[in-house]
Assembly symmetry: C2
Homo-oligomer: 408 residues x 2
């Protein structure tokens, strides 16, 4: 497995582009993206668990029912959520407009939106620009970059990756882009993620691989505990790598699923690192729970605690808050059997043994916690083998600043 360049355009047979159509009226930043596959793809997707689902989520769920996609059209600057029937009509029209440019069926187009909730989508701006968007798509890294820019909102970093693996002598490629910074919480994070691959794989196994990868990546990220109305992860596979199609759970599937999970974990970490206002990536790793589900819930609860996050911002080794968060995770464990360490590039320090304080150097702890990447290592000495990792970020003044007046 090796990292390659090109994001969603790294796999063969995909083109992408992004333009400014006028939704982000003030900034003139790109706000309309298209990813296009030259041939039909089997596709799988996962959407927000929020009961209030944005119009594009509802439309994409319908379109994905067919299992075949040719394109994804996405806009930033407006979430097209809580926009009633007009919003639903606008989301449908987005798919129709994209389909019209390539003479494909609207049901082969997925739609995604991200941005402000509760404001009518300026669909006229999209309508008048969709031809330029279609003309702009490109099979190289420039196409990927333009599309990626066009789905970003409060993101401060471009988040994308591509991998190449070899299966049966054929090189398979996977590429992905993701956006997301606020409204990020497991189940799923507030995010759009588009993944392309030239693997030949059945729709069923593509779906299974996606669910496994998302469970151990995006669903273990938290920024602020708010699960968005628009979360969408879509993977499209066009089979152009020419591998013997993956249709059962053998070694080929394991290789592919492993690569997909690696890709998603990288992007999940990037999401946490780029959390709104974040100054640090916080990794919470937990071992010794009764099973993986318990470990995941414990690790996620620590990563989501406002008090733990604020302590990380202040580089304050206030480990009692970690124990406190474990205690309200809703999972049984022995509070007197918890060991706790802070770790990072600057070293590792034990701060709590068997649930009780141990003497440690505050100076050394502060040094470790002042790094841009820190880890909270939790060991439960209960004899269980459940382990999980969750990712979050610190809670800073800038989170409040960004969200105190997001709309203006």
């Amino acid at each position: 497995m090796r990292e390659i360049e090109g994001g969603v355009c790294a796999p063969r047979g995909f083109r992408a582009g992004g333009i400014w159509c006028g939704i982000k009226a003030g900034s003139r930043k790109r706000d309309l993206a298209l990813i296009y596959a030259d041939t039909p793809c089997v596709a799988a997707a996962m959407f927000t668990t929020n009961r209030v689902k944005a119009a594009p989520v509802l439309v994409s769920q319908e379109h994905l029912a067919g299992g075949i996609l040719r394109a994804v059209i996405a806009n930033s600057g407006n979430a097209n959520a809580c926009t009633g029937e007009a919003g639903l009509a606008a989301a449908r029209l987005m798919a129709e407009l994209a389909a019209g440019e390539f003479a494909i069926r609207p049901s082969e187009v997925a739609v995604a939106s991200t941005g402000i909730i509760g404001v009518p989508l300026p669909i006229a701006a999209i309508e008048s620009s969709v031809s330029s968007l279609a003309d702009s798509i490109h099979p190289g890294p420039a196409g990927h970059e333009a599309a990626l820019e066009a789905i970003m909102t409060t993101d401060t970093r471009k988040k994308a990756a591509a991998l190449e693996i070899e299966i049966g002598g054929k090189a398979l490629r996977l590429g992905a882009m993701v956006k997301g910074s606020g409204m990020i919480h497991p189940g799923m994070a507030t995010m759009l993620c588009f993944i392309t691959t030239d693997a030949a794989i059945s729709r069923e196994l593509l779906d299974r691989a996606l669910r496994g990868a998302v469970r151990r990546s995006f669903n273990r990220v938290t920024v602020d505990g708010d699960t968005s109305t628009n979360d969408t992860v879509i993977v499209m596979a066009n089979g152009e790598a020419g591998n013997a199609p993956i249709v059962s759970e053998g070694p080929d599937y394991a290789l592919f699923a492993g690569a997909l999970e690696t890709l998603c974990v990288k992007l999940a970490r990037d999401l946490a690192r780029d959390g709104e206002g974040a100054t640090r990536l916080v990794t919470v790793s937990l071992n010794g729970a009764v099973d993986e589900a318990a470990a995941e819930l414990l690790a996620r609860t620590v990563a989501a605690s406002s008090l733990v996050k604020a302590a990380c911002f202040g580089a304050d080794a206030n480990w009692g808050r970690v124990l406190c968060a474990l205690g309200y995770a809703g999972v049984d464990f022995d509070p007197a059997a918890v060991d706790l360490r802070f770790a990072g590039a600057a070293g590792e320090i034990l701060v709590c043994k068997a649930g009780a304080p141990v003497p440690f150097s505050e100076e050394e702890a502060r040094k470790i916690l002042s790094q841009e990447e820190i880890e909270i290592r939790i060991e439960l000495a209960g004899g269980g083998t459940g382990a999980a990792v969750a990712w979050g970020c610190d809670l800073s003044y800038d989170y409040v600043k960004i969200n105190g007046d997001y709309r203006s």
Copy 2:
């Protein structure tokens, strides 16, 4: 029912006091409190649901099993949580020391602590000061005030109340003090609350009344989603009002339970208003859910949303975040049947009708949301009668500041 002065000393037969014993080493603020009943009281209590329970919680749970209390000893500045066997021994010693001063049984003394987690309790400071503390107790408002000051941590306001009701021609009094500012979340909020009453009531009904009152008050407050290790609510009833003992669920019980709930709701609102860094009290009222439990969960989820809280701080009418939070509350409802209003002293404004945007004046909305008390009014047009109110506060820079380096 009328408000009276004197807090926990308003009911007959209670004395209280508070001193500085040295736990708050730097500030020399009061840090050790005692509430004492001249005669044995029936008592009821509720404690944190956190699996990591502080030593004083474990000790008080044991002592409350007997159902009779004479005193509560409480310290601030150190939570005596995550402190192992030594912490448990210290909590037991606190009860023994207080009992020794009054020749009562240690099991008749409840213990509570609040402050930093994971630091050994400086029990020697308490040991050498407990006699002065016992000498300082007073039956008047000054005793109440001193005790109240001695349980405060990051609290910026004194939170206390007292009520008088009449039952069968007898005046019954209830008095309470509460502390809490951060680590506040339903089930229960991070808080200590001590309630006294001179009502004559059976232990069973006192317990029932307390559970009902807490459910509709403290369990509907959220500041930061962190449920503490030390939450404690204790009520002591000494029967000195001379009313015919309340031993069954008739009108007398209803009056008493109503007064207790009124007292707790007032203090719950005070907790939210004094949330760490809070600049506004945010009341979320919700009508039309399938039942009260659903209404409560929906209202609490909105009050707990970091994004809603940050929007309140910025006086930004970003109502989509309210719908988004409703959507992930885990309760079924029709997103297309939600009406939403912002209200307060400056008026009321409809911002969302049937789940879709309605035109409104941003200027007027900002005026309403700029007040110190604001209300988010949610109507679900589903035909249900479930209603609930939850209280929270905004998320400000100061929350981050206070919690970024709490220990220094």
